[in-house]
């Protein structure tokens, strides 16, 4: 008999002649449903006395008791003066008494924000975030100065480990994507040049776009998605488990061990990755122009140094590297330290980190273009 897992749905039957409400079945949380609870009660309106008969109830739990009491409350509201409970077992009565003691409070619905209020809150949140970011940059700078004043404190091991993770491990994906970009540029630009018989200018096209724009941008976007997000998630999870506070209690500044090594590593790694991306992109261009447009490897390599903006293109691409590294690392770490509360907030912070750093990278890239243009580089 101890398997009572077979259930009977809760039923309610109104006997309007005798003025009874007959309850039957399992009045348990899993067996109650809406249609049962209100069926036919209006037939009893206008009576003075109603009996709620629980004889047919097979099982009752606290939710069932709550439902029975709600039923009686509804009858009372309908103007019935006397409501008697009949046929309930001793334990069911005790349960009803227990539940009746707990007033049926329902929490107030969460306050609705007006549109204007919401707009204000969002604006304030953004301003606060910007301020906090500036403050973060400030304390990061301070920590970096401490390191310069006391170079023994520089954590070389941690930095090397970060270089391994952020740089060496990213080589395959950076190389592959840049190679493909080189292929695409040569392929797309090759056709119109071919029509003018200016095939050799594919070299200029690929060289310029890759070195100046595409290689730094692709590298930065990959690093924001791959490394910046990892920084946010790591620091965010450490905040939730109070590991950041643990560091502080051990008299170690969290930035010194969690942010600075990452920043140094990224500043070292970013230019190297961009050079690697340059090479991969050029190789992609060579493959296409050799195979499809009849520009041989020798003429490609011969032409490459002569493209009219050659040395400066390379350096312009590289100048952006430390700036992008700073943006990605600082936003990644900052968002990590902003995590408050639970697991979901790590997810939000990671999203924000990637979106903001890619956004900022592209904005800064545009600014660079304007500056270089006015400088005639």
């Amino acid at each position: 008999m101890f398997d009572s897992s077979a259930t009977i749905p809760a039923r309610l039957k109104v006997d309007d002649v005798a003025g009874r409400v007959l309850l039957s079945g399992d009045w348990t949380v899993l067996c109650l449903s809406e249609d049962v609870l209100t069926a036919g009660l209006q037939m009893l309106a206008g009576r003075r006395r109603v009996v709620i008969d629980g004889l047919g109830i097979a099982a009752m739990d606290t939710s069932g008791a709550r439902a029975v009491l709600d039923l009686s409350a509804r009858l009372e509201q309908a103007g019935i003066e006397r409501i008697d409970f009949k046929g309930f077992s001793e334990t069911q009565r005790r349960l009803l008494l227990l539940v009746r003691e707990m007033p049926a409070v329902i929490p107030p619905p969460p306050e609705q924000q007006s549109l204007l209020e919401h707009l204000g809150m969002v604006t304030l949140a953004i301003l606060k975030d910007v301020l906090a970011y500036l403050a973060f940059i400030g304390s990061l700078t301070f920590q970096a100065l401490y390191w310069l004043l006391d170079p023994r404190r520089i954590r070389l091991r941690v930095i090397l480990a970060e270089i391994q993770i952020a740089g060496v491990n990213a080589l395959p994906i950076v190389g592959l994507l840049s190679f493909l970009m080189g292929v695409v540029i040569a392929y797309q630009g090759g056709d119109p040049l071919d029509q003018y018989g200016a095939n050799i200018f594919i070299v200029d096209l690929v060289g310029l776009t890759m070195l100046r724009e595409i290689a730094p941008l692709v590298t930065a976007i990959i690093m924001a998605g791959r490394t910046g997000s990892a920084y946010t998630a790591q620091i965010g999870a450490m905040r939730i488990t109070e590991e950041v506070e643990a560091l502080r209690s051990l008299a170690i500044h969290p930035l010194e061990i969690l942010a600075l090594p990452k920043l140094v590593a990224m500043i070292v790694v970013m230019p190297l990755l961009i050079v690697f991306a340059d090479l991969a992109g050029l190789v992609g261009g060579i493959v296409v122009s050799d195979l499809l447009f009849g520009v041989s490897l020798e003429s490609y390599l011969e032409r490459l140094p002569q493209t009219f903006l050659m040395p400066s293109s390379f350096w312009i691409g590289l100048v952006k590297a430390p700036v992008f590294a700073l943006i990605i690392t600082s936003i990644g770490c900052h968002q990590g330290f902003q995590v408050r509360g639970g697991a979901a907030s790590v997810g939000y912070a990671t999203t924000r980190s990637v979106v903001q750093s890619i956004f900022l990278v592209i904005v800064v890239d545009a600014l660079f273009s304007i500056v270089f243009n006015t400088l005639d580089l």
Partner: protein, 259 residues
């Protein structure tokens, strides 16, 4: 009234790699009792509780719950069984992105077809039953104190009116007053709702005041199950070591005074 066993473990083996945690372990839980499980830290109490609550499949051995052999059970039947078991985790395991109210409402949303208003009343009922102020309902888990987290976790565990309640160190980390109040709450709920309770605890006061029987886990198996008074007189070396010392005497005295 000799109650029927509702959970039967026999010949349970549990290991993690080469670390054997349980070996040929057997234990029965009777309907309507509060069973305490004690043993040294890292002795496998949590793993045992997980095994009983279908959260971990033992590497060998039989787990019967309400008479069902859980090794040969259909997924649908297993789901029905789970709904009758409630598990309160050591650290509460409240969903951090939901408020207390939403945490308690979650299982009701998932598994029941209660009308909206009744559902909300039931949630508030559970929150009150667990001894929380109604204001706590709107709070996020991180805004709660340790004792409130335990109570909120208890409220969520009670949401579907389980027949068996598993509590993993429910009073660990609480101050004595809060812990004592929690023990009283568990005993009260058990008698009011007719629950069966299996709890892991290190709290000697809880053992004396709340449990009907206590199982001692040592050497990878249950070496004794008895009411606490009797268990303290057991001559097994691990048990004798556990109950030696002044703190046990003090707990016993407190329990007597309380009665």
């Amino acid at each position: 009234m000799r109650a029927e066993p509702i959970i039967q473990l026999s010949g349970i083996h549990n290991c993690f790699g080469r670390n054997v945690v349980h070996e040929d372990l057997s234990l029965e839980v009777y309907r309507g009792e509060i069973l305490g499980i004690i043993g040294v830290s890292g002795g496998g109490k949590t793993v045992l509780l997980h095994t009983m609550a279908l959260l971990r499949r033992p590497d060998r051995g039989e787990v019967r719950i309400f008479g069902h052999d859980t090794r040969v059970i259909t997924p649908a039947a297993e789901r029905r069984l789970r709904l009758r078991l409630g598990f309160m985790f050591q650290n509460g395991a409240l969903f951090s992105s939901l408020t207390v109210f939403e945490n308690v409402c979650f299982p009701l949303d998932e598994h029941t077809r209660l009308p909206e208003e009744l559902k909300r009343e039931v949630v508030m009922l559970k929150i009150q039953l667990a001894g929380l102020e109604t204001e706590a309902a709107a709070k996020c888990p991180r805004a709660l104190s340790g004792g409130m987290v335990k109570r909120a976790a208890l409220a969520r565990t009670l949401a579907l009116d389980p027949e068996v309640l598993f509590l993993d160190e429910p009073t660990a980390g609480l101050d004595p007053v809060t812990a004592g109040a929690f023990d009283d709450l568990v005993v009260e709920l058990k008698s009011m709702l007719g629950l069966t309770v299996v709890m892991v605890t290190h709290d000697l006061d809880t053992l004396w005041s709340a449990t009907d029987r206590v199982a001692f886990l040592a050497d990878r198996r249950i070496v004794a199950v008895a009411p606490i008074e009797e268990l303290t007189k057991n001559s097994h070396p691990a048990i004798a070591a556990y109950f030696s010392g002044r703190r046990v005497e003090q707990a016993r005295e407190r329990a007597w005074k309380a009665k």
